[in-house]
Subunit: 328 residues, 2 copies
Amino acid sequence: MDESIRQLIRGDKRMLSRLISIVEQEGPQGAQVMAQVFPHCGNAYCIGITGPPGAGKSTLVDSLVKVIRSHGLTAGVIAVDPTSAYSGGAFLGDRIRMQRHFMDPGVYIRSMATRSNPGGLPRMVQGAVQLLDAAGTDYVLVETVGVGQTELGIMDVADSVVVVMMPESGDVIQTLKAGLMEVADIYVVNKSDLQGADKMVAALGAMLHMADASDGWSPRVIPAEAHADVGVAELYEIILEHREGQAAEGLLEKRRNERSSREFTRALQAGLLQQLHEGLSENEVLRDALEQVAAGRAEPYSSALKLLEGGISHTLPAPPTRATSQNL
Amino acid sequence: MDESIRQLIRGDKRMLSRLISIVEQEGPQGAQVMAQVFPHCGNAYCIGITGPPGAGKSTLVDSLVKVIRSHGLTAGVIAVDPTSAYSGGAFLGDRIRMQRHFMDPGVYIRSMATRSNPGGLPRMVQGAVQLLDAAGTDYVLVETVGVGQTELGIMDVADSVVVVMMPESGDVIQTLKAGLMEVADIYVVNKSDLQGADKMVAALGAMLHMADASDGWSPRVIPAEAHADVGVAELYEIILEHREGQAAEGLLEKRRNERSSREFTRALQAGLLQQLHEGLSENEVLRDALEQVAAGRAEPYSSALKLLEGGISHTLPAPPTRATSQNL
């Protein structure tokens, strides 16, 4: 085991930041880190917080961190910021607000700017969650801004998914449209001092009552005023309940392993397509075939099939040998 | 060359139908057909007709076929019906209406039920266009119902894209949202006897005026009443103009070849992913790795990378040898 991993496991925050930065680069060095970190993972519980912009997700995260700390437990926060004109200012403002935990050694906060990934949450977020896990963090909170498809990717890492909404807006409709209803374990109607909150809680409850409970858990609805820390201790209790329910039925491990399997397959797919992409410029047979097609001299579909049948995959260039690095 | 292909090229309609059915199955036999047909393609001009449901696409196609026939030219119609609760009844009704051309030997009509394909127009549609082309058809009209992403796939086959809308509805907004503005060469404001048609024509014209003309063609807007054959001869003239402009600049061939290149790459990608899918159950190394990951004993990302670096693509099973069939 590298000395860097040993330092991480001892909870060294500077090493944690350094390793997250390596994982962020999504290269072979990051993969090597993950392989070494993996055996030390599995103790942290990951909470995904998502919902439409303006619902108060960051304030809720902030308040939830306070509750977690009040139980003597540690927290890590990963704020996923899909690079988008949408977020920007407000998001940065939120991060500054979170700084009330800045001096607390039991809290680690990291904002990750990611390209929006239609396939789900970027790989680097999963890596960061695992690094925090290995570093001994009790709760990892992943917050995603609800713009686009990133929020569905929250399922790729979270053991419990919390969807935050505020009353009066079209949040329920937006949430429905984004497909979040299928991934939410707990709904928080935030800013519940605003008009329409009770109605929204009742409406969500009625809607959920109609849906079947999957795997023994019926999604819950809870009002909160995160800015005043109201309802957040109750949210924490519900998360605990969800966690214990899953653990009792062996679902926690089962789901984590299913997520791992999906990630494995996705990584293989992406890698193969990358090899094909390189092959189209480097591999002579592939390059010639593409040239024939591009010049209108060969039919594309049958040309592709012929190459596939001939085992073109057997000639694809493998990615560069992994960097051997003892000193990360 | 197979006798079946010879019959197709002579314009045998029964053989055309039979070969389209083979291509519809998307197997190696279809690929073999396409490879033989390819050298005989390139004379037909393909017109894509798309737009929101209810805009009168089928009526316009019907009327356009009449104009094409009046010039002594032949027409093929492929109506793409994405299997969806959306279309159904109305679509079938349209097909029945088209039967006024049913007895005309210069017109071939085929409806293709396809699974909705997020990657674009299904491969089988492209195959059918090429078969019609090889059979000596002058104009192939491909009509897609504007539900979802299929309409963008129209670019994969069409030399000219016609977007049909009707006044007063939210059609312009819908069209903008679907990304059709980027693919349309000609806009038809159909049912132009309805209120708001002039305004819509003017608004579209103003909008297009702001956009840059790409490759020397400024998209055109034309009002029509397809059910009364009004404006359709003019539409035909504009299509001719677009065709001649592209031909003069060598763009027609260039674009067709670009489409072929994309199709080639897509087919390779799909084939490789299929090989991976099979490998995950058949290939011992892959299967073992997946089992390790699924059991929580191995880290997914680094496991995948290790396999890729080790050249796992070199061990993927090739698809079954192509069926050798002299008698199609």
